[in-house]
Amino acid sequence: MAFFRKKPSFAGDGLVLFMDVHDAMQAEKVLSRAGYLVKLVAPPPELRRGCDLAVAINLVEQPGIERVLKEKEVGYVRVTPLKAGTEGILEIVKITDFGDWTMVKAANMKLTFAKKSGVIVNTSGGGCPDIPQLHAELIDKPLTEAPRPRDVGFTLCALMLDRALEECLRLWRGDETE
């Protein structure tokens, strides 16, 4: 008697788009091997770029997924939310002056550093499981020596924390505002 294990059903809220079918199939294979729940799907016409095959993903895992694709050298066009009309990832940040400290907020993530020393004193906001780990890894580190959340985190919360860190680094180095 043969036994079949039913693959868990999956309906992602994000898509990885590809120029050709081979890349899409390769991506599905390497992402599945890396432990991500993904599915080959036909992208809706308004999102189609290149080929008519895409990989559906859990959008919150976008940074970790893009890292795997780059490490495995699988070409892709871009990652996009599935819902029509969604804008791109939030690019703007807000800066709060606390006197001896500066806080930068990117979407739901905040990072605060001491103005004199450039040391990270706090991170706050978010809710994905890599955030408490990143909190522990970033606190008490100089901005210039802190690990980049985009390199060690896996989720969109981590990506937003990276945006905040990037802006803090710019402020610390005294770069001109664009």
């Binding site: 959008l59 709060t96 499981p129």
Partner: protein, 295 residues
Amino acid sequence: MMLIAGTVPAKELPLTLTTARTEDESLVVDGQLIPCTQGTTATISAALATTSYLGRDAPQILLAGDIGQGKGSRQIYEYLIEHIAELSPEVLVLHYWLPDMRQTKRLCEAVNKCPRRPLMIADAASMYSAKAAGLASEFDIFTPDATEMAFLADPKVTHPAYINRHLFDTDITRTPRLAEAAYHDNSAAKLLLVKGAIDYIINDGNIVATITEPDIPALEAIGGTGDTITGLVAALAYAGLELAQAAIIAARANRSVGQLAKVTPATKVRQVIARYPDVFRENLYQRGSTWHWKE
């Protein structure tokens, strides 16, 4: 029983259902010390401080190690889906985990089959997945901050990283309008405790209270001070307080503890949590069968 479920940044911690205690600003979970920092541990610590003061039993906790790859999150979802009816908590708090709309839907279906429906509270990414799955109205309490309120009000997005820039580019005073949009789209829990320079308590779309004093702006920078509010409101609701009253006291307690601890943006959440017993002794009193906050 109150049950708090969420991931912790202890990669090797297996799925664990237990109670915890605090020791030297850490949580002790099955003999393992887990630092009390931003996230589920801050919520548990605040809930423990509150239940201890109110003379209620300590929360049960369902934890799994997860640093972002989702394995621990999936273990928690599956365990809850399978066992929530037999666990039958009076209060269920869902906290940090990898948002998964399909699993959240399955969990809500399992909860609806419970003989006694628990009070459902969500914060952090469990709130994200509830909203993204279109199941926000299945929940009794959400505790968003200003940006998360904008996320709830944006019908198109499944994570705050994608919110419309015009919604992000607003301040806390826009909360009433954002809440109206969120309730209209079924993207809000029955009660919202919106944390910010002004704390808004909104019940079924109606603002029932705003809290502005004491004004402690540094709290926003301290990782975990939003998580503690979730622990406070959950424990107060578990002690029998009416939900709006529990939310009002939670918001006031968090501000007062910030004042008492003389917080700065560099203060750590464990230093804040350590002062809750002092704040409760000073402000929280019992009259009749319920608890009140000294005006």
